[in-house]
Amino acid sequence: MQAPSWVQEVFEHYLICEFTSIDNGKPVTFPLLFFYDNNSTKFVVTSSILFSRKIEHMKKNPKVSLLFSNPEGSGVEKHVVLVQGVAKIEDSDLDHGWERYLPMWRKKEPYIDGFLAAREQFAWFWKRIVVEVEPRKILAWKNGDTSKAPEAVGL
């Protein structure tokens, strides 16, 4: 990815994104924790089976978007970045498949281990589906001014 440093900072430091799937032509957007690995240049979100309607949407239509609009708590300046991409669903190992993202999750939510300790109590919350998003188009608004045209980021 040929992203300028300010866009990379957004991917590496923002806590959440606004993730949109499509339900029969209707956009459905939720705030989600995301993980970004700049080696793979893919974005990952995970979803409990409890909140899996968005997964059902993506199985029918894999076109999704992630908007990064909220820098609060991240320590970096405000920019807005839109990633449009194609989602790949991995749900063959609901109990452990998502655990490879635990180090990144822990970094974003240090208290997640306390929640994990109660795994038995929230057993179905911890049955999680992995969604890997391969970017197809990235648009970025420097300083978050969306009244101006965005700049395209090279993939």
Partner: protein
């Protein structure tokens, strides 16, 4: 994080008004909105924009540069207060997702709400949200059963 409360404006004897669907006091507690529609390539297109409430409680969105492409389309507007904090994690979780259409109004985009979905953990704590979502989890597990049996 999914829907706690869901209202739909269509299907009744009359369409619900903006105020019946969306509580302006609740909307006023959010700082900005995320407007999303489907672009010409079939991908969701989202953009963040500021908003204000009219005296009648209508939601007026500031025009983003991409606004001409959303005119006439069904849009979703997410108001989100799940905000990161420097020590990690986030503050109180609440959001509201409003679907509808927009029209130009005095330099703004007026949102005409048709459906609403929202969650506020102070009203519905997370453990209760999870309990309410068990049928969806069961449905998903059942959908996987054929591949597990194969």
């Amino acid at each position: 994080m999914e829907e706690r409360r869901y209202f739909q404006g269509s299907g009744g004897s009359r369409p619900l008004t903006t105020l019946e669907l969306v509580d302006p006091d609740r909307v006023s507690r959010f700082r900005y909105g995320i407007v999303t529609w489907i672009d010409k390539d079939g991908f969701p297109f989202s953009v963040a924009t500021d908003f204000l409430l009219s005296e009648n409680g209508e939601i007026l969105l500031k025009k983003p540069s991409a606004y001409p492409t959303m005119m006439g389309a069904s849009v979703g507007v997410l108001f989100n207060h799940i905000t990161g904090i420097p020590t990690g994690g986030y503050t109180d979780r609440r959001y509201m997702l409003v679907w509808g259409r927009v029209s130009e109004d005095k330099g703004f985009l007026k949102l005409h709400p048709e459906e609403v979905s929202e969650w506020d953990e102070k009203i519905l704590p997370f453990d209760k949200l999870c309990a309410a979502a068990v049928p969806q989890g069961k449905k998903y597990l059942e959908s996987l059963q054929p591949s597990i049996d194969a």
